[in-house]
Symmetry: C2
Subunit: 347 residues, 2 copies
């Protein structure tokens, strides 16, 4: 074979392999194979171009089968008991015959080197159950990138027949907002003693919650939890109403004694029914699609133009000039833009 | 004169005129001339390139003199009594010898054809006072653009010796968030009967407020207002604490009887002192500068690549494909990006 022929042969082989793999994975996913689902998500998270190609094909195949699950976001500061809650909640759903996927977004774990769900012993019991799928935070440099991968993983999980998708995130910083924009229902877990444990929670998150759950309502803590739940209930009545006319609930529960875990699930089902009837659920998912489309375009443009050493140096220099009050922030943006566009020769 | 010479002469004349004008305007502004301040802002808002050039020079000259005013954002739904409050509040500040500039951001007024402050009769009394400067919403197509112009107007007002800058906005949609990111203190005006009048307020705004003021606390309404203020006070204690450790206050007032208008001003001064001491004020302004720099770059890139008929058609087509579940939102963004970059020949 001469070189041309060899290349052609290699390419056609690659193409066949890719086609086969996406097809094979899709067949597996459709037939609820956890192994194929895991492999599919691994491809989706891969930075290799060849993997990305297969992943894209796979997503396109899964999309028509997606959308049937209830997508639930769960947030709360570290220490609020997210894992214990999910363990308890997952067992309940499993008992009701639901297939549950648990995904996570926690870019901060990248820094510490471990993923929020990497240590599966934190959800020891449910991770052993056959219809529960637990997947740690995807690796990725930016929060936007991590969130995009999680969002596409939802489609694969739904195509694999999962009924409930739980997306876990720490309630600090931007990640909660990202999760809020990919779920149907947003749950905020809180401790009973309002105050210090709220430190770090992004302002505005409380107003986004569809239900607030006070955790660890057991033993000596029960009365305190009841009081807190009542206070939050009153507070939430004062919030601006949401578009779907749902009044956020305030619930106490204990994952330790299994108290009220079923009430949380009932509340979520009530919310879903309410918003299926008024059409908001479908409408909201469309808005979310638009948001992610536009947000991804922004993210890609910014990344393309700004994430390189020469841009960064230029940006730092401009920031210094802003600080020294020699140019305004908006003028600096103008200068940077002109430099970027001219350098890229597209003007 | 041949054509070359004529052009050279015209250009040098233009340059001289521009230099003179920016210098002259700056001289005027520095000497507190309202006429020159107005003209400066008009240039800043102009879309003519020649005006923009002068405006940029003028901003650069004004920047070193900026930063000394207290920047206050005032938001609330239509009907809450923003104009009446500002009228009363402005008179108080005037009595205390303060120079007050009132700017506005209300892009929705573009639709209705009139500006929120265009009708100056709404602030009849203070608009006559010598040290009060009222400027309606700048015209502009996008909220981002309008907000940028308002933000740069702040520098000009500060260089002109204004002590307090009030930035008024309706509390619905994105404009409140924009105002929040350009002020030191964010005031949310509310009516006493929580409920319907909150309709349309963007969720999360309440958690952003540094102080909440219940308006129209007079006559039959007084008791209701007191009760509401108390409820809000309790609610705000449950909010995540802000970085500056300020606990938002809840105040009742009446612009009609002038009740508690001074308390609002005292609270703002208390807030400013508190945050000058702990260094947050300066820190926050730096964060805001960074935000506006990055936001403006984003805005400009998006505008450059997406705001043209052919892009729009392409985008609509992609959105349809997302809706039909043939591609994911993130894939669509990818396709659009590649198309944009290739078309612009910058890859």
């Amino acid at each position: 074979m001469d070189e041309n022929n060899l290349n052609r042969w290699l390419n056609s082989r690659k193409a066949r392999k890719a086609a086969l793999t996406a097809d094979a994975l899709f067949e597996g996913i459709k037939n609820h194979s956890i192994k194929d689902l895991s492999q599919g998500i691994t491809l989706l998270e891969s930075t290799l171009e060849s993997d990305q190609k297969i992943a894209k094909e796979l997503i396109s195949k899964c999309l028509p089968l997606s959308g049937k699950a209830i997508r639930i976001g769960i947030t709360g500061v570290p220490g609020v008991g997210k894992s214990t809650f999910i363990e308890s909640f997952g067992k309940l759903l499993h008992k009701e015959g639901k297939k549950v996927a648990v995904l996570a977004i926690d870019p901060s774990s990248e820094v510490s080197g471990g993923s929020i769900l990497g240590d599966k012993t934190r959800m020891e019991e449910i991770s052993m159950l056959p219809n529960i799928f637990i997947r740690p935070t995807p690796s990725g440099k930016s929060l936007g990138g991590v969130a995009q991968k999680t969002r596409e993983s939802i489609y694969l999980c739904e195509a694999a027949g999962f009924d409930v998708i739980l997306i876990e995130t720490v309630g600090v910083g931007q990640s909660s907002t990202m999760v809020h924009s990919m779920v149907d229902f947003f749950l905020l877990l809180m401790l009973s003693g309002a105050g210090d444990e709220l430190q770090g929670i992004k302002r505005g998150i409380m107003e986004m919650a569809d239900t607030l759950v006070i955790t660890k309502a057991d033993g000596d803590n029960l009365e305190k939890a009841k009081k807190a739940a009542n206070e939050y209930k009153n507070a939430m009545h004062l919030f601006p109403p949401s578009e779907n006319n749902w009044i956020p609930k305030s619930i106490i529960c204990s994952a330790y004694t299994n108290f009220n875990i079923d009430l949380v699930w009932n509340t979520i089902q009530q919310f879903i029914n309410h918003n299926q009837e008024n059409g908001w659920l479908e409408h909201n998912r469309q808005l979310q699609d638009n948001y992610w489309f536009e947000e991804s375009v922004r993210e890609t443009l910014i990344h393309h133009f700004l994430d390189n050493p020469s841009s960064k140096e230029y940006i730092n220099d401009l920031k210094k000039q802003i600080e020294q009050k020699s140019i305004s922030a908006i003028q600096a943006a103008d200068i940077l833009f002109n430099q970027l566009i001219n350098k890229n020769g597209s003007n």
